[in-house]
Structure formats: C-alpha cells, structure tokens
C-alpha cells in the first residue's frame, strides 16, 4: 500500500503529456489556429505513417552521420584528455582556449563547413564532432585530475606503469563523468547532424525538413520533429543502459540495497 504513491509518481509526466496532446487536438478541431499551420496530432501521426519508409531512409543517413561523429568525438575526447592530463604545460596552454572555443556557436560555423567540405557527409560529421567532443573531454579530464593522489602514489610504489595507473585508477574514476558527458553529446549529435543537413545535401532528416518546409507540409514537419526527439530520447536510454552495464560497482550495489 505504501508503495503506491511512488508508482503513481512515474505516471504524472505521462498524464501531463496526454493532457497536452488533448489540448492540442482541441485547439485544432475548434479551428483556433488554421489547420494548415497547426496540424492535429492525428494528422501528424498519419503523416508519419504515410512517409514512414522515406523518413526511415533519411533517419538512417542522419544517424550514420551522428554515430560516426560521436565515435570520432569519443576517440578525440580520450586523446585530448589523456594528453592534457599527462602534460601539465599543454593543459595550461590549451585548456582555456578549448573552453573559450565553445562560445562559438557551432550553428554559425556550419555554413562555412559546407562551403569548405562540400555536400557529402564530411561537413555533417565534422560539425557533430565539433559539438560533441567538448562535454566528454571536460568530463574525462575532470575524472583523471580528481583521481585520488594517494591511490596513484600507491600504484607507483607497487611499480605500476603509467598506462596501468590509467587502467586501474584514472579511467574508472572518470567513467561516471564520461557517461554524463556522453549523455549530453548523443543529443547534440543528432541535432548537430540535422542542422548541418539544413545547409545542403541530398539526404538526411535535415534535408527532408527543408524540403517539406518549402512545400508547407506542416504535418510532415511535425512528424520529423517528433522523430528527431524520439531518436534522441532513445539514444539517451541506450547510454543509460551502457552506463549501468559498465559500472556494476555503483548500480549493482544500489539494486542489492533495494532488495534488502
């Protein structure tokens, strides 16, 4: 009996969502906003179903760009964080610059990338990398730098080499931060790919969006927006799952405590 309030809790956002959808539906049915500007939820669903194969094709392209960019930024983040952790001088010289570089809106350099790199996947992937590597780099570096100095000293006293100190102390210490960074990065990745696609290309969700916008197909427009949101959400869930799997010393313990 005492459990029931917390179960209800989980459904509160769902109730709000259903409520919002109902209000939206109501607004469109009583004609508060002209139907061609704001399609009803049902219209959007229909558009989604009708253009499903087409949408999936474009989603495949965008996801390929997002994943490639993400994979490259993970590698880049590890390399940069490692170098900055190993060499104090490089850290001091480059860390402030990297932080400042993040004030440049990536959206603003997207057109430049397209001009430089053409209409293929390269500028999209580049933009994804530029937006995604930063949160992970900072998180990893933070994890490396906050590792227990006494533990590192003990490893050295036991004759550990540098890579062993990373393997057994620094990387595990950086893992929780890395996953928070990765969670931010995956949502950036898809949005980054879509924004780059707006500016040119033959396929991808961003290209599709520009096309349906030009033909004023609002229902399809909404369908893409929801699809993008859904994909981001799905990826974040995947990251959550990976996080649970790779840090059993945090999550398995929590579950065991709950059982007791």
């Amino acid at each position: 009996m005492r459990k029931s309030p917390s179960i209800n809790h989980k459904f509160y956002p769902l109730f709000v969502l259903i409520g919002l959808l109902l209000i939206w539906h109501l607004i469109t049915t009583i004609g508060l906003v002209p139907g061609f500007m704001l399609p009803s939820p049902l219209d959007v669903l229909r558009a989604f179903a009708n253009s499903f194969p087409e949408l999936m094709g474009h989603a495949g392209v965008s996801l390929t760009e997002a994943f490639t960019g993400l994979a490259l930024s993970i590698m880049l983040a590890f390399v940069i964080a490692l170098i900055m952790d190993c060499f104090e001088g490089i850290y001091k010289a480059f860390h402030p610059l990297i932080v400042i570089s993040q004030t440049i809106p990536t959206v603003a350099i997207a057109p430049l990338l397209v001009l430089w790199l053409g209409y293929n996947m390269t500028p999209k992937i580049t933009l994804v990398v530029l937006t995604c590597f930063f949160p992970m780099t900072i998180a990893l570096l933070g994890g490396f730098k906050t590792s227990d100095a006494d533990a590192v000293n003990l490893m050295r006293a036991m004759g550990a080499r540098k890579w062993q100190i990373y393997r057994y102390i620094k990387l595990p210490n950086a893992l929780p931060g890395f996953f928070s960074g990765l969670r931010i990065s995956v949502s950036y990745a898809i949005v980054g790919a879509v924004i780059a696609e707006w500016l040119g290309g033959n396929s991808g969700l961003g290209v599709y969006m520009t096309r349906v916008r030009k033909s004023y197909a609002f229902d399809k427009m909404f369908a893409v927006i929801f699809l993008i949101a859904l994909l981001s959400l799905l990826l974040i869930k995947v990251v959550d799952l990976l996080e649970r799997k790779s840090m059993p010393w945090i999550y398995r313990l929590r579950e065991e405590e709950k059982l007791e």
Partner: protein
C-alpha cells in the same frame, strides 16, 4: 644477528624550503617488527614516501638488501590509514592488484590471491565490492594486497588509526598473530604509544621539528604477547620512558 633487509642512511628532505626530516638512519632486520613513533606532522609519512620511492630525498640513501633503491618506486609497498581499495574492483581484484601490475596472467593472479583469504580473515569476501565491507575487513584486505606485493618487507603508515577502539584492539591481536605466521619484516608508523609498544620489537622515537630520530627502544617480552602485557608494570615502564622522550 639477523640479516638487515631495509636501511636508510642520513636521509634528509625539504618541502618548500622547510626542512622536514634530517639525518634519518634506521634499520629493519629480517622478520622484525619496528615502529616509528612521533607526533602528527613530524614527518613520518614523508620518510615513508621516500622509502617507498614515491618522493626523492634531498640527501641520503635507501638500501634494500644492500642495494641502493633511492628514488625507485616498485621496490617496497606500503599500507595506509586509508585502505585505498578501488571502489570499482571486487575485493579479489583489489587484493590481486600488485600481481596484475606485474603482468601476471589474470586468473593465475586471482588464484594466487585467493589462497590467502582464509589466513587474512577475509574468506568469502572475494566477490564483494569494498563498500560492502566493514572498516576492519577493508584493512585486512589492504594488508593482504601489501603482502602480495612483497611477502617479506612492508611499510605500514598508521594502518589502524581510523578504526574505533574495539575494532582496533581486535586488529592488533589479529596483526600480531598474522605476523607470527607470515614472517614479514614491517616498519610501522604510529602516533599511538600503546600501539607501538604492543606491536614492536623495536621503536624509533622521532621528535622535532625538523624530524630526527632521538631514541631507539627495544621492547623485550617475546612475541606473541599475551593480553596481560598490556596492563603489566613492564608495559607501563616502557610507556613512562617513551612519554618522557616525547616530552609529553
């Protein structure tokens, strides 16, 4: 006389222009339990870090079995008040860490480490994470890790000082019994006079600043010592003598 295992010669160390320790000469013989006793902040851990090769001394040498190991890490391991068990490794892997570092085959290392779990009083904990263990258990695991690094010489830097009085007493008893079985030579840092008398064959008294060795006391009753030793006149005499030396 037993063979000398570990020796320091005239060690001096300065931090930020301030002399912390100077002229430190100590010896540790085979199977001997020696304590370094001094108030907090006197430079005991500094000396340990020098012996462990984690920090280099300004002058002086550290000899292990007659070989100069000054500034070389990887020769002598130590254990601290903080157990430094890694939260992400199961107890077995934490304990086997020195063997992993030596690039021993993982399963071989685990088998080797597991052999000692019973003897070190942590049987059955191998698949747990350190956070699931009590303070006393964690210290035992840390001691086993130290032992697996080197079975005959170890440094202990106030290993029991974070434990509550009752656990600490139990650990003392366990430690003495263990030391009889494993024949380790240990240099034991403490600021606790009772602990030093109870656990040592010899005690170096460090006073200062800067930290210097001002006295060396041999504790005569043979190990293992019965509980009565703790409340004996003999024990109190040692204590009186040490308090005078520490100017307490």
């Amino acid at each position: 006389m037993k063979k000398i295992r570990l020796q320091t010669k005239n060690i001096g160390k300065t931090y930020a222009g301030e002399l912390i320790i100077k002229n430190i000469n100590i010896t540790l013989r085979e199977k001997e339990l020696v304590s370094l006793l001094g108030v907090s902040g006197i430079g005991k851990s500094t000396l340990f870090n020098v012996i462990a090769g984690v920090t280099a001394p300004d002058i002086g040498q550290v000899l292990l079995d007659g070989f100069d190991i000054t500034g070389q890490a990887g020769k002598v391991s130590y254990m601290q008040q903080k157990d430094l068990l890694q939260p992400h490794l199961k107890v077995l892997d934490n304990v086997a860490l020195p063997l992993f570092i030596r690039r021993l085959n993982k399963s071989q290392a685990r088998t080797e480490a597991l052999k000692y779990f019973e003897d070190f009083g942590i049987a059955g904990t191998q698949d747990k994470y350190p956070s699931q263990l009590s303070g006393g258990m964690r210290q035992r695991a840390a001691l086993l890790r130290t032992y697996l690094f080197s079975k005959d010489v170890a440094l202990f830097d106030e290993p029991f000082s974070a434990l509550d009085a009752i656990t600490k007493r139990a650990m003392h008893r366990w430690y003495l019994a263990l030391m009889e079985r494993i024949n380790m030579a240990a240099l034991f840092i403490t600021h606790d006079i009772d602990e030093a008398i109870l656990l040592s064959d010899r005690i170096y008294i460090m006073t200062g600043p800067p930290g210097v060795i001002t006295a060396e006391i041999t504790i005569n009753p043979p190990r293992p010592r019965a509980d009565e030793f703790l409340v004996s006149e003999n024990f109190l005499n040692y204590k009186r003598q040490i308090m005078k030396l520490l100017a307490l």
